[in-house]
């Protein structure tokens, strides 16, 4: 088994590059297909871990606080994110309830926890946790399945649809969720594969 840790290949078009130390800390694109090989973010690890912690805490607020209130004449109702998920949980719609639960809560939380588990030891000066590599890999694999931001667009559409027949008030969880989407988006700008994998591989403490 031979490998060279200063070489990386573009995952989209297979072209091989030797990255000098100076190249690793700047933004680099594949010369053939334009894929971003490195994002060039300093302190990527500290920020990813910090933002992952923030989004885990925000998700706690989202789950247990009221999300939306609805008033229509004498009738009033209030829904938490748990209600939104459980709204489907009858009979044939059960799988759909699970899907919504997974896309908007389970996967985003799992990603945050996997990132903290894999990268936090680098910050505290400890050796890699067992399975740190698999954890980081899964955090990347799960990225397209975390749909918090799509859910927020769905909320906006639903609010306009209901708007005509009732008045809707936003709850604490709604704003926590908005913040969560912002934090997750910000975090993804620091998720430089090259930086994170190199740091994990060179952690010798």
């Amino acid at each position: 088994m031979i490998y060279d840790s200063t070489c990386i290949a573009c995952p989209h078009c297979d072209v091989v590059y030797r990255l000098s130390a100076a190249r690793m800390v700047t933004r680099t694109r594949c010369l053939r297909c334009g894929y971003q090989l490195t994002l060039g973010k300093s302190e990527a690890i500290a920020r990813v871990v910090g933002l992952a912690l923030t989004s885990t805490i925000l998700m706690g607020i989202v789950l247990f606080a009221p999300f939306l209130h609805l008033n229509a004449g004498p009738f009033a109702s209030s829904a938490s994110v748990a209600d939104v998920v459980l709204g489907f949980a009858t009979g044939i719609m059960m799988p759909l309830a699970f899907a919504v639960l997974i896309f908007i809560i389970v996967v985003p939380v799992a990603r945050s926890l996997l990132l903290i588990y894999a990268l936090a030891p680098l910050l505290t000066g400890h050796a890699n946790a067992s399975g740190a590599q698999s954890s980081l890999r899964w955090a990347f694999v799960l990225k397209p399945w975390a749909m918090a931001e799509i859910f927020m667009v769905g909320v906006a559409v639903a609010l306009v649809k209901i708007g005509g027949m009732a008045t809707v008030h936003t709850g604490t969880a709604f704003w926590a969720f908005v913040l969560l989407v912002v934090v997750n988006t910000f975090q993804d700008t620091f998720m430089c594969r090259n930086t994170l994998w190199t740091s994990l591989a060179t952690n010798t403490t």
Partner: protein, 212 residues
């Protein structure tokens, strides 16, 4: 080679007799089964990529049919039940002059899924035989499909929120229809289809000396 090199110096991992990890980018000798750095499975090109793409695509296409025939929402208002399908819902929104929302739902639930079916099928069929298409364009098509596919889920989430909020017994209540589940599965299957696609196949063709 160094990244400052010129376009004609580019060499692929496969031409160098190596295998690249698509997860972390490490380049290793072909006897390696899993990546020494991130433990992902290493394959020079994904096994049976095109077959997998087409299989998931077919599954997604089949489910898209009931997703459009069956109702997405069942609204009960003053003892009257009304079913609305995806396209029916868009038409209702336009009748109520909610053009922006109608457009969002139409784009997310009709344009994106149908466009995705066409683009993935086109790429898979094109790449299963020799072609002379510009790989840069094909790559952009693939990247666009992978990026935009998940946004089709909007309508499913809209249904989930409406169902949870609008529960006023006789006055008004909303229940999800069978189409919501079919549509969600269709989106998941087409996302898996796009992910099964190995973008390196797009670029292999130019390596064999076809015009740039």
């Amino acid at each position: 080679m160094d990244i400052s090199g010129h376009q004609h110096d580019l060499i692929t991992a496969r031409d160098a007799g190596m295998v690249a990890c698509t997860s972390c980018g490490l380049v290793a000798s072909p006897d390696v089964e899993s990546c020494p750095r991130c433990h992902a499975r290493m394959q020079s090109r994904k096994d049976g990529s095109i077959q997998r793409v087409l299989a998931w695509l077919l599954a997604g296409l089949i489910l898209y049919v009931p997703a459009n025939i069956y109702p997405m929402l069942r609204t009960t208002q003053m003892f009257k039940e009304q079913d609305s399908t995806i396209v029916g819902g868009v038409i209702t929104l336009i009748h109520h002059h909610a053009y922006a929302i109608g457009a969002i739902i139409f784009i997310a639930s009709v344009l994106i899924p149908v466009g995705k079916f066409i683009v993935i099928a086109y790429l898979a069929l094109l790449l299963s035989r020799p072609h002379t298409k510009d790989p840069h364009r094909l790559h952009i098509l693939h990247a666009a499909v992978e990026f935009i596919g998940r946004w089709s889920m909007i309508d499913v989430f809209v249904v989930a929120i409406l169902v949870a909020l609008v529960q006023f017994d006789v006055l008004a209540s909303i229940k999800p229809g069978l189409a919501a589940a079919c549509f969600a599965l269709s989106v998941v299957f087409t996302m898996l289809s796009a992910q099964a696609f190995d973008p390196r196949l797009i670029w292999d063709v130019t390596d064999k000396g076809t015009p740039k």
